[in-house]
């Protein structure tokens, strides 16, 4: 049984794609914030809140993905569990950008919906991977 690989390949794939998507998401959201600042009335305090949360999202995502990849590859359920817990925080942030941002553009809706989809699929695969690792 030691030759059977328990690491989830779809999960790894998802992590990989999520990583690429994260870069795109971060740049796009940043560009949108700058566009909104220029096109609409965007007071400084609202702007600073949104930018701060965006930076936190990026950092949290990197950490989460790192933990997830490492946990998946080393088949350690602890790291994967931690990554799952961090996903909850990431979901909250994605919902913020989807619903509670100062200006929610259609592109914001699209980006964050895709991100939430990623989170959803990853969460399911993580749970099954953890279950596989524990067994």
């Amino acid at each position: 049984n030691s030759s059977s690989q328990m690491s989830s390949v779809p999960l790894q794939l998802l992590f990989y794609v999520n990583g690429i998507y994260l870069i795109f998401y971060f740049l796009a959201t940043l560009a949108m914030v700058l566009y909104k600042r220029q096109a609409f009335s965007y007071p400084e305090d609202f702007l600073s809140v949104d930018l701060t949360l965006l930076v936190i999202t990026a950092i949290a995502e990197v950490l989460r993905l790192y933990l997830g990849i490492r946990g998946n590859l080393t088949e350690e359920e602890g790291l994967l569990g931690l990554s799952l817990v961090m996903t909850v925080g990431s979901v909250f942030l994605a919902v913020y950008f989807l619903v509670w941002q100062t200006y929610v553009l259609k592109i914001d809706v699209i980006l964050n919906t895709i991100l939430l989809l990623f989170y959803g699929m990853e969460s399911i695969l993580k749970i099954s991977a953890i279950a596989a690792f524990i067994r």
Partner: protein
Amino acid sequence: GEHAVMCKVPVLISVSPPKVAKLCVCDLLVAQCDVNCCCDPDCSAADFSLFTTCSVPVVTGDSHLCSQKAAIYSLDVEANPPERVFKLIDQVNPSIFCIHATNYEQALTFSSPEIPTSENFDQLLKQFGSATFSAEPESWDLNTDDQSLSDANETYRYQYGVPIQTVDAFLRLPSPVVSSWCSDENPAGFLVNQATKCIRSVSVEKCDDIQAVSMLFYTNSSILAKLYEFVFQVNISVQSIVVQSLNGMRTLLNDRDVLRLPMILDELCINIVLGVSYHITYTDAGEIIEAAAAFVLGAISKEALSIEQSFEISFTQVNTTPVPLSGNPGYVVGLPVRAGFRPQGYPFPVEMIQLTILQSTSNQDCLAAQGARAPVLFGYNMISGCKLRITAAMKCQPLTQALLDLLKGQSFPEYVASFGNSQAQDVLDWVPITHLRISEQRIYNTFQSSCQIPVSLEIEVKWTKYGSLVNPQARIVNVTATITTTTLKELPSGTERTIPITSSVVFTDVSSPAEPGYKAWPTINAKLPFDFFFPFV
């Protein structure tokens, strides 16, 4: 900074659509149908049938929104009669940058500015007090270079009509506004000579309460020498104080340095300001350098409920003496005739006085006349006189001299100005007065030693119309003063005789009438061309 995260309550506000169905920008007339305004609720179907087009075809909310309601108005010309079509549709913005939702309630509306209070004033000043928000083109900075300094000089000088500024507000010239009651908010305009009269309600009890009847009210604030500059201020000095008693008699006070404030004395309120006359001296650069006020103070009794105040302001340029003109250039009817005399040694008339004649008084005794004289006004023929009582004791020579002084006045001019605006240095603009002396008697007595006393002075002013036919100017061409004398017969002692003394001014128009001129009859100008007989001539 740090306050925002926890305090902000995230509330998703789906952007409430403005009631596009009710919005109509072309509805300008109230309760009346505007032409070609399809969204006007005051229009009926009959009105719509007369429209040609819809001036406002679409009413939408903010176009940035992803989905919004739009009201579409159009005219269906196919139908008979044409009718208006109103559709409320959902307009979708296809762009991916459209606003799906906002959490900032003032996002899509114009923000009303904050009202400054004592709490937020400093913050607002820091935000809006910088140069970018400054509405005034001039800067308050005093050390600027020459270019902007001369610009500052340009904008800071007083110009005609600009209200004269004082330290707190404007120089006030109370005047009647709608009714005859005084309004204290009338500013005095620079170079605008004004004279106003108005009524103010007063009472003896509130004597020292009413500000506008006290001298202090009119002299306490200083005038700014230049517009908007508080550095140079001109204090209003008291030029003279005239006190008017209850029966109307006026006396000039010698001491004008003491500020007389209203006070109650013997049931009267004295030192009430009845009139102020401001005299402002200015330079040709538009600066005020001096201000003086002449006061007329009066008293009111217990029964008085209101007083009439009169105010006046006049402007003089520095280093000039104001000479009122009687016309520009021709004389204006009703203005005084200007005259002068030539002091010895000067080539042109320097002293300018008025031509005056004897003024009749109620007391018709010539010798008791106080020397009241009236100025001769151009165009007004005047006659005046008095009665002379001659007693036996009067000597001829002193009587003659006294009568000449009476008729001619203390200083009878030698020259009269030809035009209303003749200057002293233009010699040709002054007409010498011709003196004639005629005697009443036709037949001369053999003994001329009998006394001849002047009994009448007649000034005849001949004037003509000068200049263009459509705007002729009056010009004096000849002035003749004729003294008529009569023989004073010896009187038996104890008797007296009364003879009338008259003086008159007559204006005669000696302008030649316009002569009709006719154009020359047209002639046939028939001439053969120069080289008609070419080969032969």
